[in-house]
Amino acid sequence: ADEMTLQLKWVTQAQFAGYYVAKDKGFYDEADLDVTIKPGGPDIAPVQVLLGGGADVMVDWLPSALAARENGAPIVNIAQPFKSSGLMLTCLKEHGIETPADFPGHTLGTWFFGNELPLYSWMSKLGYATDGSEGGVTIQKINFNVDPLLQKQVECATTMTYNEYWQVIDAGLTPDDLVVFKYEDEGISTLEDGLYTTEANLEDPEMVDKLTRFVAASMKGWKYAEENPDEAAEIVLENDATGAQTEKHQKRMMGEVAKLTAGSNGALDPADFQRTVDVLLSAGADPVITEDPGEAAWTHAITDEALE
């Protein structure tokens, strides 16, 4: 079998169920692939791993992938299993924020490491300064958990529909205590988990063949996971080496993730791509990317073949 390595963007969880299912259910074997899945972490930049040769494919979000491209990393989107964005901003109701018009004067927490880009775009679209000045908002970097929201160090925090939101709920708050703003609903959503590889890989026919088989098998995994969410969650749990994940949380997460993958057959929708680029280009004084990367940043070559 051909060996392949996949670098995830984050730790083992149902967000990546499709790949674990494909491996566990033997879809990769059927495609004559031997896939190693490397979990990510807060300080891992998957792009570095990809360019360093530590992986053949990676999962990344489009905004940070495009930022990396501008910094000289020749990476290309080859498939897009996630159709919609799970990103949202969650506020505690007690702080009196009901609509985006209430943001000025409040502290919004976000993850950085590339994840802050959509929030900056949104704020600039709303016309709010982000340096804490009069009439603007204060942006605070927070870690990848919801403690700052619970401890009231920030008033709103970035959450994912499938993960952090439920951590807030698990902490004892009810949906009634919260106000959520989904990026998808605000019309500023950006593309999330996609599959990327290097330009060099795409020039190698053998590699292209492997990637094609990989994408096909992965999508099969995703569709299986959508249909059997509980079983998929179990598979994820078995693959979690930290032993920190819980069954309840993963099953719930799988259910939410299935909503995001639904509607994608794996091929990138150029319209979604263009919307993401537009959102990023609009980001105020310090834009994330300075020019439209155009079609060089993605390809249908793999998916066209894979989804035959």
């Binding site: 972490g41 807060p42 300080d43 930049a45 570095q48 360093g52 958990n145 205590d177 930290t242 032993g243």
Partner: protein, 286 residues
Amino acid sequence: MRHVLPVLTVVAVIVAIWYAAAIWLNAQWALDTAARQDRTLGAAELVLDTWSQEKPKLPAPHQVVTELWQTTVEKNVTSKRSLVYHAWVTLSATLLGFGMGTALGFALAVGIVYIRVMDMSVMPWVIASQTIPILAIAPMIIVVLNAMGLSGLLPKAMISMYLSFFPVVVGMVKGLRSPSRMMRDQMRTWNATRGQEFLRLRLPMSMPYLFASLKIAMAASLVGAIVGELPTGAVAGLGARLLAGSYYGQTIQIWSALFMAAAVAAAAVGLIGIVQRATLKRMGMG
């Protein structure tokens, strides 16, 4: 008794302060929760609540102890939910890194003592190297090593090595230079070779320094292994536990991993202490 009583007293005081601090830090959450449920808390209820929250700002001592007990004694040591398993993962990287760091530090020290150019050029850079925040470059080191085909234990051990070689260099340079002028002159009058001088004078003379450095190096090495675990994908090890705990706000888990780490460090350092006493005793310097 002379040694135990003071320690027990201090520990008792710390535990008391700890419980008090737990009330102070966790009260807000207890009150907020109660307010959301339209309840009011009596003083006793409040105190009990602050000591038994699921994700407290500061877990109470007994919560940490319970967690430690559950994750060490009550779990099979091969289970991924066993702290013993994670401690072992970290310890193996620590020991490998410690070994490599000691070897590197030792080699550098010998070079500095015997080779003039090294003496003059290396030391400032060794000091500068330690002002680089390792956590910042650890992910990059791991990525680069991965790219070179090194993965698993070795990258973590390299970071341990980076942190642990420094105390060994500093201590051993001092130790290898500790023989007095007269002692070195004696060797000269017997026309001893450099090797003989090293083995029979400098090395034994540096033993107390060596052990003092080894203890510091071991603690540094553990920190290195934990740092190295953070960006390896949080797979296994105490660092991964710390990290996972922090993603999911599991403070109790953080604290128990923390104490486990300190216990591992104390045990490893204690072990060196035992070896030290045995060695020095054999050398008649006990």
